[in-house]
């Protein structure tokens, strides 16, 4: 039986990929951001997943306005890095897990999530940047010769209004958990939710950052995700910038972890180009959640 052993949410800013590819990770501008990802790399290496289910959004790369799938799963054997206008990133081709991906499609559609199945899907920065920062080596994020495991891409439309609601995303996550559980092979799966945090890339309001809102969102993710699922589209836009809506994808990851989950680690840094960069690592289960609460209480006491 396959099982979900952890969840991770991270920003997927293209400039982070460019900083890695151009060897700029140790400059004063980028170092604080990359230093915060070393823990994620160590965590992932310790978890040794067989598969990463990576939730991201395509940024007008694989999908144009010709076809706009709300939820799409990549079922191919491999996914090439896309040319987004400046040539493809120099990173390895992503190996898919076609069998698990098809199983997810089947299970999810019969569970009433109408997934689009995709065989041809070049993957853009939204997908390759999270892999680079968590599977790269050390604070330079040195690109490995091959990614450490297979990856199943789940693409979510957050570019064309309306994107799926936060609640729909959370429920999809729960259905993913069910689907993984019913997969016969003994696989360890880690789920990624990517995008965000606060950022706006267009219009006169470009550059908007809302640290207070972002931190509240992170605070609620492990213990109180139901509250986060009630945040309406317009609140994301107003409070976190038009492109902050990407954070609904974090709720897919959270939904996949089950009722109880614990926060293991977080990192937050402003700016990554136009964006507030956030990283959070969660582990599923009541036991992990209890330990996390105890840790928080002890921390509070120590502060007094």
């Amino acid at each position: 039986m396959a099982r979900i052993v952890g969840g991770l949410a991270t920003t997927h800013v293209p400039a982070i990929g460019a900083a890695i590819d151009q060897g700029k990770t140790q400059t004063p501008y980028w170092k604080p951001l990359f230093d915060g990802y070393v823990r994620a790399q160590e965590w992932l290496a310790a978890k040794k997943p067989d598969v990463i289910v990576l939730v991201y959004n395509d940024h007008a790369t694989a999908f144009s306005l010709e076809i706009i799938p709300t939820f799409a799963i990549g079922v191919a054997e491999e996914f090439p890095p896309a040319d987004e206008g400046w040539g493809p990133r120099p990173v390895p081709v992503v190996k898919g897990h076609s069998e698990l991906a098809w199983h997810l499609c089947e299970s999810l559609i019969l569970d009433e999530f109408d997934i689009t199945m995709i065989n041809v899907m070049p993957v853009d920065h939204g997908f390759t940047v999270p892999l680079s920062i968590t599977c790269g080596k050390g604070s330079t994020c040195a690109t490995p010769a091959a990614w450490p495991c297979k990856v199943v891409p789940i693409s979510v439309n957050v570019v064309q209004y309306p994107p799926p609601t936060g609640k729909r995303c959370f429920d999809l996550g729960r259905a993913i958990a069910k689907a993984v559980k019913s997969y016969p092979e003994d696989l360890k799966v880690v789920v990624y939710g990517t995008g965000g945090m606060s950022h706006q890339l267009h219009g006169e309001r470009a550059g908007l950052i809302n640290q207070e809102w972002d931190k509240k969102f992170m605070d609620g993710l492990a213990p109180n995700p139901e509250r986060l699922t009630r945040i309406p589209f317009i609140e994301y836009v107003r409070e976190t910038g038009a492109e902050g809506i990407e954070m609904v994808m974090w709720l897919i990851m959270r939904g996949a972890l089950g009722d109880k989950a614990a926060e293991i680690y977080r990192h937050y840094h402003v700016p990554a180009s136009n964006t507030a960069a956030g990283l959070i690592i969660l582990e599923p289960g009541a036991k992990a959640a209890k330990t996390a609460v105890k840790r928080r209480v002890a921390k509070k006491k120590a502060r007094r």
Binding site: D83, A206, P271
Partner: protein, 129 residues
């Protein structure tokens, strides 16, 4: 359902809804075509001729030729599509963001280093007054 009035109340923001998607379809498909190296070359070689292949309105066409980034957004361009034109011209997201908000790339980068544009006073057009 969110109301159009709410969308229009967010200052300096042009949500990519059904109206803008219809208005900007050909403009965005032009941007999208620039993901192929051969098309980038063709565009840079003869912009007018390349643009003839797409059904842009005269306003959209002029905005592209004038590199009027904010105007392109107002005419139905979407930032993720528009970034392909940016990449073709060697312009980053930060450059375009600076241009759209009326400052130089340096001034914009400086604002981001100081924590970005503040949410205070930027939530609502109504509440600004």
């Amino acid at each position: 359902m969110a109301k159009q009035a709410d969308f229009d109340d967010v200052p300096g923001t042009y949500l990519f809804d059904r109206y803008r998607s219809r208005q900007g379809y050909h403009l965005n498909m032009f941007y999208f075509s620039l993901m192929k190296a051969a098309n980038r070359e063709a565009f840079l070689g003869d912009e007018q001729k390349y643009l003839d292949k797409f059904k842009l309105t005269p306003e959209q066409r002029n905005a592209v030729l004038a590199r009027d980034w904010l105007r392109m957004i107002k005419l139905g361009g979407n930032i993720y599509y528009m970034s392909k034109l940016g990449a073709t011209l060697g312009r980053s997201f930060q450059y375009m963001a600076g241009a759209m908000s009326g400052v130089t790339q340096e001034q914009y980068a400086e604002m981001m280093l100081k924590g970005g544009r503040s949410i205070e006073g930027n939530r609502s057009k109504k509440r600004r007054k």
